[in-house]
Subunit: 199 residues, 2 copies
């Protein structure tokens, strides 16, 4: 008869389902949570339920928010004529970290991926189109990941949006700052050459 | 005004407190949990509360259990005359994985560490002594980690237990199986030489 504590095993299994968490890490996390004082463990469980209950999609940009509009869409200082289209909420967090972008976003919540059975209708595409149709939009920046799915999604959307008379742009490709030419792959280097600018 | 969703930030902070989880991983985990179906997120929160509520120390060996006695102490097939002393519940899980040990454990829930203000009275030492004083114990195996704190704890306990007329042993030191002599540190190699056995 092996040593097994059902509530502990159940907690380990829950941690094991999280992305990037293996068997050993899950066990360490579960034992850590078990070691927390009662009120801190409750705060953890409560944070999960609370986030799940309160957070939903922004009525305009489909980003995650706990209000009617997210803090970006409801900010009058933001330029509403430019929309930056991203795949996931975490991409908004990454772009906001630059402190350089002062317009709005649109979160698709995924990329087109026929292999996984994800088509445009599973994504927040019609919300984007109705924003553009409502007028006042001069540019849409495609900021999906430079992967096959991200590229396909950007191409698909640009074909839908261009006929509406709106400029569609794409993030620049090139060598990352601080990177090393030696380790850059050929496709990236070719794109960096193609996109060269005058000094 | 930065993009910030309070319930999401709170959940990210909760994940960030876990050992080995940094800012980026915490963000990824929080967004993953947010993406789970409602009942699965509830199952996660429930697993935390349930484990916290039901799991306590075994009345005999201080290991974690959801019953009066843990499944090892309540198993009649286990040899009750040998006690293997470990620092943490995870060490029991590690030793049980060998499928070679058929006696009982005693979990100290820490090691003596004056630097962190942890003395014998914070550990489950008196429970161990009362088990030995109750009689029927022939050997106590010290299986604390081979660190300064683990060694100090093993030394301290052996000085308490030996006068009671019980054999006290320590796990063998040496090169790990599958390891490489080239990368073994000097102390380990010296211990491996000292502990050599006849072929």
């Amino acid at each position: 008869m092996a040593y097994r504590v059902v509530p502990l095993t159940r907690l380990i299994e829950q941690f094991e389902r999280l992305p990037g968490i293996g068997k050993k890490t899950a066990q360490r996390l579960a034992l850590y949570v078990l070691d927390l004082p009662q009120h801190e463990a409750e705060a953890f469980a409560d944070a999960i339920l609370d986030a799940k209950k309160k957070i939903h999609k922004c009525a305009v940009c489909c980003n995650l928010t706990d209000e009617e509009l997210c803090s970006i869409c409801s900010n009058p200082a933001r330029d509403k004529s430019v929309i930056c289209v991203v795949a996931e909420p975490k991409d908004v967090i990454a772009l906001e970290r630059t402190h350089e972008f002062n317009a709005t976003y649109h979160v698709l919540h995924g990329c087109i991926s026929p292999m996984d059975g994800i088509g445009p209708e599973q994504l927040c595409v019609k919300e984007l189109l109705s924003r553009i149709n409502a007028g006042g939009v001069s540019e849409v920046i495609m900021a999906t990941n430079p992967t096959v799915e991200g590229e396909a999604t950007a191409m698909y959307l640009s074909r839908l949006i261009k006929p509406l008379g709106v400029k569609v742009t794409r993030l620049a490709y090139g060598i990352p700052v601080g990177g090393d030419l030696e380790y850059a792959d050929e496709v990236t280097l070719k794109r960096a050459l193609d996109g060269r600018s005058e000094l």
